[in-house]
């Protein structure tokens, strides 16, 4: 039971999980509302929209409209897509200002090219990574989603996804399909050192150069614990989900030395020999 609570996508497809009961619970839970609003705020911040302008945005996996309400608050018009009728019904009850659509993101975004000035998605993308039907192929669905989303966005816009990745393979699957669809960008991680506060935002750009925003709770850029993963063609080494480096590799050693320096202890200076593989007789 514990694992399915942490990973609801393991219990079943989103339209089954978010039934009427769950939808009601979700939307009345004040803690849930607070978290979702905070994440929406951060996502909109990362969207880097032009100041003081009302924009036309897409909210993927809008659910009961918790994130949409924040968009309305900021003066934007939005369209929300969700697969669960129960959640959308709650959104209707709550009289959200955005336009709602019942749809499956893995089937593609049914919009004319260049419609939106930006896209946010809060806690929804990880649902695409599980095959809920035998006919589903998550990579294909991810690609369908990203490619249609890419065309629905105007050039020079961003799509920001807050998600809960299960592991680095999932993260890689998502980013690779997004890149295939034409997006550039990468992962912004807020508070990478806190397992509770840590949040992942996939920040994607359509065309043009985009400088990936810095994650919150990060110190100088000299830290070896990467809190931004700039996606290039190379394979990056992912830390384990707690944000700490695995094994006793060089990364781990450097972090440990940093920690001890911060504690005021005497630490050997870092040289090119730090963390170097020793000969077997050591």
């Amino acid at each position: 039971m514990a694992s399915s609570c942490r990973r609801p996508e393991h219990t079943g497809p989103p339209d089954v999980f978010y039934n009427e009961e769950e939808a009601k619970k979700y939307s009345q839970n004040s803690r849930m509302i607070e978290i979702q609003t905070q994440m929406s705020e951060r996502a909109v911040e990362l969207l880097n929209l032009p100041e003081g302008q009302a924009c036309y945005l897409l909210d993927v996996g809008c659910g009961s409209g918790l994130s949409g309400d924040y968009l309305t608050e900021e003066g934007h018009h939005w369209v929300g897509v969700d697969i669960s009728t129960a959640m959308l019904d709650v959104a209707l009850d709550r009289e959200v200002q955005g336009d709602l659509l019942l749809g499956d993101m893995g089937q593609g975004m049914p919009f004319r090219p260049g419609t939106f000035d930006g896209c946010i998605s809060i806690s929804a993308l990880q649902w695409l990574c599980n095959a809920d039907k035998r006919s589903h192929s998550p990579p294909k669905r991810l690609y369908t989603f990203f490619s249609t989303l890419y065309s629905s966005l105007a050039r020079g816009c961003r799509a920001v996804f807050q998600l809960y990745p299960e592991n680095s393979e999932q993260l890689e699957l998502i980013t690779s399909q997004a890149m295939r669809a034409g997006f550039t960008g990468g992962m912004v991680v807020d508070y990478p050192n806190s397992s509770k506060a840590k949040k992942f935002f996939l920040c994607m750009f359509t065309g043009g150069t985009g400088v990936l925003p810095k994650g919150l709770g990060s110190e100088t850029s000299d830290r070896t614990v990467a809190n931004q993963v700039q996606y290039s063609g190379q394979r990056c080494r992912f830390n384990n989900m707690k944000g700490k480096s695995a094994k006793k590799g060089r990364d781990w050693i450097m972090e440990k030395k940093e920690r001890r320096r911060r504690q005021g202890k005497e630490v050997r200076p870092d040289t090119k020999y730090t963390g170097r593989q020793r000969r077997p007789h050591f």
Partner: protein, 98 residues
């Protein structure tokens, strides 16, 4: 459409201006016509519409205020109909359509 509602939405001329280039004008007029809410919408885009507040207000009305509550969207190419219920279009595709 069998049920259409007209809401009142705050008029933001800049927003409407930026939306106009994204529209396929003839389709918009046709849709407004079908809903019986075309009113004075011209058949062709008025040149220099940025300064024409009257025109912008008409567009604002059709874009933001007129809402289909019950009805359907029809794909012009395949004829496939997507029902609209409670203002929400159902765009879910069947297994064989995806």
């Amino acid at each position: 459409a069998t049920e259409v509602k007209v809401n009142e939405v705050e008029f933001n001329p800049k927003f409407v201006c930026r939306m106009i280039p994204k529209l396929e004008w003839s389709t918009l007029v046709q849709a407004a016509d079908q809903l019986g809410h075309r009113e004075e919408l011209p058949g062709e885009l008025v040149p220099d519409y940025e300064k024409n507040e009257d025109f912008l207000k008409k567009v604002h009305r059709v874009l933001l205020e007129v809402e289909v509550i019950e009805g359907c969207l029809q794909c012009p190419e395949s004829g496939r109909e997507f029902p609209i219920s409670k203002g929400i279009p159902n765009m879910l595709l069947n297994e064989d359509e995806a």
